[in-house]
């Protein structure tokens, strides 16, 4: 720690009161006083303008993205989370790694297990509404396929769900048991990837950091934001449970060598378990009140291992891949990202013994009468979800699952909400205009806005000419398909179609060769 004497700029260095919040980036003047009080290991420089923390250099790359119109205010006006009245029937999609354990005609209750995990990578499935099992058949789902679903019809009048009681001694549950609880509560990550939580933890064995992602870079979507504002402590405790559970998975050998140095040959590699030691709460720098809230909760929980970090409010900053790219460039294995809602579900599964059957979804878009985020049972149809928000004001041009940058268009509104559904958007024709594609004029905009520094123009020009080997050479396999290139293109070229074509053909070529 330099003394004021050898401080080159002649500023006064203040030794701060030792407290418990680790240093995080200062985002506004509001936090600066709190910062001085809460800094433990970091110097703060006093100037005439106030306290300026010295820039801590983090490894990472410059954040690249687009500043989109966020359009979140409409759904934030009604930000108390409610549950809709149970619909007539729901279709619960069965995960690939699960086997139905109910028969047609069975009466099920909310939270009752309706499918058993199949193998160690499987998860159980739970009914999200009381009723009668009507059919177990293939129904169209929201990603354009047909998949096996359990249809449950409402049976009698729904009874109110009794208040959940805390499981006794849940903070003392050993890590191995936590993984089992996750698996048998049907816990699945609430992002579009829908990976069982215990499988994801196993895949990221050896990670030292749990990143809880509270960012939503896409317009309209506010589910994570509303949930974080309503249940900050539950999410933090859920993060702690995920961190603990990570300690139960054995570290893969290739990673152990690089991280821990030489390991004695007598040690069984299956027994080496590192576990996480740090929690990072990722938030967008536009959500100042959320950052303040989480920081104060961490402070009063006295957690030295947790910190809040912000990303610029640019699309696609705040997606799992861009968070890892920004904070752990080249060493993605050192961190594992979970959405905040997954941490909340982990808390409920462990502390309240509640199985995973509902999630917070934003129902929004200009066409919806009362856009809001609300608890939706998994399996409720998009139509019923929109009706729970008082229906539509006008026939929408497109109904999307997910945000306007990466969402999927729905052919019908009778598809069910999945675990990976973050939003249901009904957008008018003014917003989702179709444009005619023109030739590429090589304006460089897509190259400037690519978050993984590709040259989308070169790749798509190659794909246009069926030069899939060239597209591969220019790194098409590194594309994260965020859609930035297609958004900025002045010629409105179908960039994502061409990139997907190049990807599938390139992989096919590599596979044959």
């Amino acid at each position: 720690m330099p003394s004021p004497k050898n401080n080159p700029k002649g500023r006064i260095l203040v030794q701060t009161v030792p407290t418990l919040i680790p240093f995080t980036e200062v985002e506004s003047g509001v936090f600066q006083v709190a910062m001085i009080l809460s800094n433990k290991n970091h110097r703060v420089t006093m100037t005439a303008q106030g306290a300026i923390p010295e820039k801590k250099k983090r490894p990472g790359r410059k954040a690249i993205g687009i500043r989109l119109e966020r359009k979140k205010d409409a759904s934030l006006l009604n930000w108390n989370l409610k549950r809709p009245y149970p619909p007539e029937k729901i279709h619960i999609p069965i995960p690939v790694a699960a086997e139905p354990c109910v028969r047609v005609g069975d009466i099920v209750q909310t939270g009752q297990k309706i499918a058993e995990p199949k193998g160690p990578g499987g998860v159980s499935l739970h009914a999200s509404m009381p009723g009668v099992v009507e059919r177990i058949e293939n129904f169209p789902d929201a990603v354009g396929r047909k998949s096996l679903m359990i249809e449950i019809r409402k049976h009698g009048e729904p009874k109110p769900i009794p208040a959940a009681e805390a499981r006794k001694g849940w903070t003392e549950i050993p890590a191995e048991e936590l993984l089992r609880i996750f698996q048998y509560s049907g816990l699945v990550t609430t992002d579009p990837r829908m990976e069982p939580v215990h499988v994801k933890l196993g895949r990221h064995a050896g990670a030292r950091t749990i990143i809880i992602n509270g960012c939503e870079p896409e317009p309209y979507i506010t589910g994570e934001q509303v949930l974080t504002l309503s249940h900050p402590v539950e999410i933090l405790k859920g993060a702690e449970l995920l961190k603990k559970a990570l300690g139960a998975v054995p570290t893969p050998i290739n990673f152990r060598g690089s991280e821990m140095g030489a390991v004695p040959a007598t040690v069984d590699p299956q027994k080496i378990k590192i576990g996480a030691e740090k929690i990072i709460f990722a938030l967008e720098n536009s959500n100042l009140e959320m950052m303040e809230l989480i920081k104060s909760k961490i402070y009063f929980l006295k957690w030295e291992h947790a910190e809040v970090r912000s990303v610029p409010a640019l699309y696609p900053q705040g997606l799992e891949s861009t968070l890892l790219q920004a904070w752990f460039p080249g060493e993605e294995e050192k961190a594992v990202v979970f959405p905040a809602s997954t941490a909340f579900a982990a808390y409920e599964a462990v502390a309240l013994g509640k199985s995973f059957y509902e999630k917070v979804v934003t129902v929004g878009g200009e066409c919806v009468v009362e856009p809001r985020s609300l608890w939706l049972p998994i399996g409720i149809s998009f139509h019923d979800a929109i009706q729970a928000c008082k229906g539509v004001m006008r026939e929408p041009q497109k109904i999307l699952m997910g945000g306007p940058m990466a969402g999927t268009v729905q052919a019908t509104s009778e598809v069910p909400v999945m675990v990976g559904t973050t939003a249901i958007l009904a957008l008018p024709k003014e917003v989702v205009k179709d444009a005619i594609a023109e030739p590429c004029i090589r304006c460089n905009l897509c190259v400037d806005h690519c978050p993984v520094s590709l040259s989308p123009a070169m790749i798509t020009l190659a794909a246009d000419q069926k030069e899939f080997a060239t597209a591969e050479e220019w790194g098409v396999s590194e594309c994260i398909e965020c859609g930035n290139c297609a958004y900025v293109c002045p010629s409105k070229r179908p960039m994502l179609e061409l990139i997907r074509l190049a990807r599938s053909r390139g992989e096919a070529a590599v596979g044959h060769g």
């Binding site: 294995e333 306007p404 940058m405 444009a435 023109e438 520094s453 040259s455 070169m458 297609a486 958004y487």
Partner: protein, 285 residues
């Protein structure tokens, strides 16, 4: 509750787009050129309107013909033909005979652009190629006084500067490109000898920086490549013609660099961010 199930089209994301378009770019550039034409009329270069008119009519006619031949209609719809005509009229001498102008427009719009594949596909800057072609065929006609050569005029310079500011305000291109070009030209001239006609020199440099380098089709597809392109073009154009910087020299310099563009693209291609295979996943899958 018994509403009919609605049907919607299925397409790939993104479902929203920026407001940028080719038409917006072209018409924006035409707006930036407007002060120059107004000033030319007010300062006694009204003959340029005759050249402009011939250029407009012939450019639209050739684009129409090309559209019929190659089944392409973009250039007429998005104002590209009009922009090409306006820029080309500024590159021609004010008292140029009509048939020479029409030949120039033919070689620019039809031969150098549409025969190479139309919008976005040509390798060499079509207007400069046509200008060099006419220079070689009709050296006497082409050396007659033009707006951007000769004595120069402070108002013309001011109009180009205003056009440049309008162009930068529209944020169509990368603001560093014209700035780097102008800076390099000024430094070269300061180091390598004085200019006989500073006003002409400034006008030509500004015009090149804002309007001739504004066509991204012939520039490299990377920012670093574009910067190197512009730097080399500025150095070459200062030295390529005997009387220092001139529009003729610029033509040769940019055409030479256009030929190097594919190599610049490959040499200076951006380095993609690589994710380890086991963690590789797209946002959607």
């Amino acid at each position: 509750m018994a509403e009919a199930t609605l049907s919607y089209k299925r397409v790939l994301p993104p479902h929203i787009h920026s407001t940028a378009s080719l038409a917006k770019r072209n018409w924006g550039q035409l707006i930036a050129l407007a002060p120059l034409f107004v000033t030319a009329c007010l300062t006694g270069h009204a003959e340029i309107l005759r050249v402009l008119l011939i250029c407009l009519v012939s450019a639209v006619a050739f684009e129409f013909l090309a559209g019929k031949l190659f089944h392409k209609k973009e250039s007429l719809r998005n104002g590209e033909a009009v922009l090409a005509a306006a820029l080309f009229s500024l590159l021609m001498p004010s008292r140029c005979p009509s048939e020479v102008v029409i030949l120039g427009v033919f070689s620019a719009v039809f031969a150098a652009k549409e025969l190479f594949g139309g919008t976005g596909n040509y390798l060499l800057h079509p207007l400069l190629l046509a200008r060099v072609f006419l220079q070689l065929c009709f050296p006497k006609v082409m050396s007659e006084p033009m707006l951007l050569a000769g004595d120069g005029n402070i108002w013309v310079l001011a109009a180009i500067g205003l056009g440049g500011i309008i162009f930068l305000k529209q944020k169509q291109g990368y603001w560093k490109t014209p700035i780097l070009f102008m800076a390099t030209c000024f430094i070269c001239e300061a180091l390598l000898g004085g200019q006989a006609m500073p006003l002409t020199f400034f006008s030509a440099v500004l015009f090149t920086a804002f309007f001739l380098l504004a066509d991204p089709v012939t520039l490299p597809l990377t920012r670093r490549g574009t910067m190197l392109f512009v730097l080399c073009a500025a150095l070459l154009s200062s030295r390529l013609s005997s009387e220092g910087f001139s529009i003729q020299g610029v033509g040769y310099a940019i055409l030479l660099m256009n030929l190097l563009t594919p190599w610049l693209e490959v040499w200076l291609k951006p380095t993609p961010y690589k994710t380890k295979n086991q963690f590789k996943a797209t946002y959607l899958s």
